[in-house]
């Protein structure tokens, strides 16, 4: 298994994180684990820690390094509305208001990529319903290409999952078109 953060080295550290009772597992290589966790000790292969520390550690690697702060050409931003500064966000891993996202915009994109594998929203705007039929058609096309790739690369578990998703999506499209 490869490290889910760098995707290069073998995952040797297995982390269980509890986000408000929701437990998930992460598999990291020693280098990434060392970077993300201050509590990691060589030789220990299993860490358990709370969302606080996991998210905090993810956030800590964002923005300028603390020692560079004085020299940084751009100031570390502060939310003009709720007054949360970027340092406060790095410590808690929580935004204070909608405006924080705008204030910290360019600093938080890497965080979103790490958490979600993406930094851009796809879906309906407020007040709109579900995504359009056209959107579903595009998605179906995309899934079929992925399926072909998965089969040709003999990744059969992945192919089976993709087949299921295609079946569900086709069912929904039939429903939408009546």
């Amino acid at each position: 298994m490869l490290c889910e953060r760098c995707g290069k080295n073998t995952a040797e550290v297995h982390i269980r994180q509890a986000i408000q009772g929701v437990v998930s597992e992460h598999h990291l290589c020693k280098e990434c684990a060392r970077e993300l966790t201050s509590g990691w000790k060589p030789g220990s292969n299993f860490l358990e820690f709370s969302i606080g520390s996991f998210l905090e550690n993810l956030c800590k690697t964002l923005g300028p390094e603390p020692q560079e702060q004085g020299k940084a050409t751009r100031a570390v931003p502060t939310c003009p509305r709720c007054g949360l500064d970027f340092e406060g966000f790095r410590k808690t891993g929580r935004f204070g208001c909608a405006e924080c996202y705008r204030a910290f915009r360019e600093w938080i994109r890497p965080l979103f990529t790490r958490i979600h594998g993406s930094e851009t929203y796809r879906g309906p705007a407020p007040g709109q319903g579900t995504s359009s039929v056209q959107g579903m058609d595009d998605e179906l096309e995309r899934l079929k290409i992925q399926l072909k790739e998965a089969v040709s690369e003999e990744r059969y578990e992945m192919a089976a999952t993709l087949r299921d998703r295609i079946r569900i999506l086709e069912g929904r499209l039939r429903g939408e078109r009546g």
């Binding site: 891993g93 979103f112 407020p126 998605e139 999506l169």
Partner: protein, 349 residues
Amino acid sequence: MNADRILALPAPWVEGGQDCPSDVVISSRVRLARNLARFPFVNRATAEERAAVLEEVRQAIQAEPLFRECAWCRLEEMDPIARGLLVERRLMSPDFLQGSRERGLILDTKGIVSVMVNEEDHLRIQVLLGRMSLCEALRIASAIDRALYCLEFAFDQEFGFLTSCPTNVGTGLRASTMLHLPALKMSRAMPEIIAQSGRLGLVVRGAYGEGTTSAGALYQVSNQVTLGLTPEELTEKVEAVGSRLVEQESRARDALFNGSRELEDRIWRAWGTLVYARRLGLAEAMECLSLLRMAQEAGMKGPFEKVAWGPLFLSVQPAHVQAMKGRLLQEEETETARAELVRETLGRL
């Protein structure tokens, strides 16, 4: 809302369908996190601001025909048993019990929709249905989301719906399905499944208890990421992996039941425990119920064939046992009352 009224609410996900009373898939749930753009998030809002959010939501709900058959509950007016019942019925998160006074809960009378106000986000819209019905749950949740649009949700063209925690940003959607996987648990396949699901951007975890172990072999599959995929894609992904696990469970059951005297012995012992025990801990009760439910689904002959295991699974939960007795109980008293309740239910057959 008091305990009696909560107990009178239907719990469609527990009862299962008419055609097939029990199934590997227990329930499907969709949750949307939303915040009002004009207020700071709950963690940075003052008591006055939280109260103002609560009032705005209350007015929007009252004006909206979709919520005609909903009850508005103030948490501080509810006794501990009533609150426990709501958590066990999965209409409210355990975290909602802790925290400030300015919290409200909207419940529909069908036991399907619940909206938490001032949990981690201003609004947590939740739809809970029985069986594998994530697409339907998303459709209902989206309709509620649209109906509450007048509240002006915090939204950004690039990042989508804005939430207090970066793990929810984007769709604000958590789609999950609860599965009963006793055969996969017994064949020790769960740790590998849990590890694999992480690579697909999903989380598989014990629905009761933590991590790879789960009381009653109940597991929850949910999406981990909320950004970059549309709500439909996220729910489809969870549904696809859920369906795959159902198939794997079915194969594992075939292999387990293939003339296994040991399994047969365990099932009958579970029956014996439920029928004769004088004290019954929660984990033990759920383990026994899980085995017997599986035996029933496998078509095994015995007195357990006709039992409605779903509702019983809910009745043995601590707040439900206490509600039956009408008072808060110590752990030992709860165990005695639980054993009594199970004996009576099964004795009536």
